[in-house]
Symmetry: C2
């Protein structure tokens, strides 16, 4: 039978493992860090899916591979991946690399613990608390609560769930059948996570009232009031308004003071989705964009976006001091959150989360903050704004660049009008032809690997580019390159 | 005004950054990898919270710190963190380190992309697909769907949401008000994430019917049938049964064939929470524990647990071939999922997720699999089972160790009965005194840092230990040490 014999093993595996790790790290630094940030290297190495599948040999087989083959795999994965650290990656609301944050991420991965209890994550329980406190203090809150979530969408979902529980605590036990129909308010240009949240939480997307925005994409408070009246007249109970600070496409800031007035008057929970724009709070010069945010009941803020902490890093912050988050989310699992522990069990914060195992997301942000100081982080934000206005100024000098709206933030939305279309605004096919310009330029830039930039249609406006400026490693040269490159890629269209 | 002047910057920052990263990596390897896996080092360095706060100096300040100070911070974070890689960490359902998986994690962090589109994650979109396919094939499915989620709790939530949409698609638009009251079935010993899901999805935890389990913790199918009848008699619509393969505490496997019969007969969605036990599928010898799993509609499986891929790594797998996952979760955001792209947009799988930005969680698992092969992974599972039965055998030889139940899996649940309590089972205070044994031993082991092990009460049984064996680096010596150490720490109680 099974004795304990033959279950011993030499430590060989361990030293082999460590050797592989160390060698692979060199490859990672070379390929993903050094080349990945080198402006003379490509930002992406486009391959057709079929080709890439063949190159990568992804299949998982019965037997393992050699040390050498595995190192080559590390190299290949790096080679064919998009270099989001690259100074010419403008495709998403994250970009660039912060070396201290990256160090924090590597340490997090190596320590591989879960954030639920003080017992298994003593450092990170205390650290999360300090980081949340710091972020709250920037909002203007001396007290409050919060938690790191796996992304802004889930932070926004948590906000909606906590708001619902705050308004109707019986929902946790009895479900929505015990409640009147609920109504949610958010702007037309707000992020789609509000839609996903309404569906997931069982509220239904038809119960979202989309509030109109102005030209720049900011919520029109008068229309919010009108929509609240409408919802009530349809028998629904307005309980939640989602205001956005920094919309995804245009970078618009909703007027928080006005929205707070309306929310208060109507007894609604006001959530601010500052996933993207929250970082303006770091700068004395630009924080006015979110004035009124201190009146919100809760805020989502993604340091993995503008602050460059690395994916995933998102916080859900609350002004509440009544332990609402815990009461709403707790399940009191006795196998994990024992009540007879030898230390202060209020440090076991895991039950505030909708998760069980929870990745440590605070260390990267904390280490970066320790390295940069609040001042260094503020400078980055200010630099991004300065780059943005410089770019806009330069664009205005060039024929062929047409702004969608004057930027409030670091999103620059514009059409590139190729020479063949200039002055043809009144032609019947102008919009159709313009709509095809951005996708074609995009295809060319990706296939050549010179830069990456997103485009989209929006509320009746045909495809336009969204340039996003956040990487402090950007230089004047990169901005000029950017404009020249769009012209180079699009002038024949 | 703002020109583009003064926005240039030397590349100095970059080379400083890289230097820091490289030096910090050495510290990480030394402190978190080498010492972290050394059986002669402590598994944890217990500090009272107040003391630890002072030692770490967590506060975030105006100014940044020096290179040297920051390196010290890396060292301190590692020092005071629990060494989950350590061979004597038995506290959770994850433990140990796989060096290839860790390499995959470091590469993931360095590449820092989001899993939503082929455009920004070409390698990982293809890789996720292959890994999901492989995992499905182990379930016995040639087709199907799936997605990586941030943890098993969220995978389980997605299962419940997809099931609800499958049964009542109008829920996505109209919410639960358009539906009859729903009923959920799960065993008494199932994971608490079903509770969190029911609350979060707006169904309410009172609409969960807890099915009785036998001594070992396996769901009793007759009681499932009875509970379905009960729910119907109370006017609720049974739509979802959650069966568990590998319960959290006892490691029990619910009888899937029987549950599948009942689910089919009642037109219910059958989900299998195999977050913990799914890995038995890797072993021909042990996969019988989940026979019938191929009849499930969906499965949760956490490779970050027994497979040692590292947190977070969880998959939600579906048998469906009708694009249900996408239809249920999609929000069709045009800024991200443009329809006029130059490549096959079915590769933009991000809208299947409830998230927007989504961490890459497939690479670590893929690289580990490439290194070990299916065979190597199977051997690990078999080794864990072998260690478990050897430990149980040894326990039975020692006075003072009393099993809670015969293990089905690699969880060994037991009471340690100190000499003073032996033979006193009939004393009035026996249970009260026994309940205090595990917490006291736990406190002692943590303060001495010799090992870590969890305990809990369960369904009327007072505090007992749960030993979890999964780390392939364990040796016979570690098992003997484990038993000796419990005796050493508890014999005076
Ligand atoms: C059976 C079972 N299901 C689900 C989960 C939740 O997984 P996660 O911690 O990844 O959320 C666990 C966690 O231990 C579990 O044991
Ligand atoms: C305004 C806004 N809110 C929320 C999110 C969602 O954040 P995440 O991608 O972390 O889910 C985004 C993402 O771009 C966003 O722009």
């Amino acid at each position: 039978v099974n004795g304990l014999h033959n279950l011993s093993e030499p430590n060989e595996q361990q030293s082999h493992g460590e050797l592989f790790l160390t060698e692979a790290f060199k490859v990672i630094v070379e390929e993903a860090v050094r080349k990945g940030t080198d402006v003379n290297e490509k930002v992406c190495e486009w391959q057709e899916p079929e080709q890439l599948r063949a190159l990568l040999d992804l299949e998982l087989r019965e037997h393992g591979e050699s040390h050498k083959q595995l190192l080559q795999r590390v190299r290949d994965v790096a080679k064919y991946s998009v270099k989001t650290n690259h100074p010419r990656f403008f495709n998403q609301l994250f970009a660039g690399v912060d070396y201290h944050a990256l160090t924090g991420r590597l340490l997090t991965e190596t320590l591989n613990t879960s954030q639920y209890t003080y017992e298994v994550a003593p450092v990170f329980v205390l650290m999360e608390d300090v980081v949340l406190q710091k972020l709250r203090s920037l909002l203007g809150w001396n007290e409050g609560d919060g938690i790191f979530c796996p992304g802004g969408s889930i932070s926004n979902m948590c906000a909606m769930n906590v708001a619902r529980y705050w308004a109707f605590p019986q929902v946790k036990t009895q479900g929505l059948w015990a409640l009147p129909r609920l109504a949610i308010f958010t702007s037309q240009e707000s992020h789609y996570s509000t839609k996903k949240a309404a569906a997931f939480l069982g509220i239904g997307i038809d119960n979202i009232y989309h509030v109109k925005v102005n030209e720049s994409g900011c919520m029109i408070p008068e229309d919010l009031e009108a929509k609240i009246v409408l919802a009530k007249s349809q028998g629904a109970v307005p309980f939640y308004v989602n205001a956005t600070s920094g919309t995804t496409v245009q970078g618009a800031f909703d007027p928080l003071e006005r929205i707070a007035d309306i929310s208060e008057r109507n007894g609604m929970w006001m959530h601010v989705d500052a996933a993207w724009g929250g970082s303006v709070l770091l700068s004395q010069k630009h924080r006015h964009l979110v004035s009124g945010i201190e009146r919100a009941n809760s805020v989502t803020w993604n340091p993995h976006k503008m602050m460059m902490a690395g994916l995933q890093c998102s916080v859900f912050l609350l002004r509440d001091t009544t332990n609402l988050l815990m009461r709403c989310h707790c399940a009191n699992a006795t196998y994990l959150f024992q009540q007879d522990k030898f230390y202060d069990i209020s440090l076991d914060t895991g039950d505030k989360s909708i998760q069980c195992g929870r990745k440590v997301d605070c260390l990267k942000l904390w280490l970066m903050w320790k390295a940069e100081g609040s001042q260094g982080l503020a400078e980055r934000v200010e630099k991004a704004f300065a780059h943005t206005s410089a770019l806009v100024e330069e664009m205005k000098k060039r024929e062929g660049f047409q702004l969608v709206s004057e930027p409030q933030f670091v999103n620059v939305c514009f059409w590139y009008i190729p020479p063949s279309l200039r002055g043809k605004e009144n032609n019947a096919d102008y919009q159709d032809r313009l709509a095809k310009v951005a996708p074609t330029i995009k295809e060319r830039m990706v296939k050549q690997g010179t830069m990456m930039l997103g485009y989209q249609p929006l509320e009746g406006r045909v495809n336009f580019f969204r340039m996003v400026i956040l990487n402090p490693q950007l230089t004047k040269r990169d901005m000029i390159f950017f404009l020249d490159e769009i012209e180079r890629l699009g002038k024949d269209l």
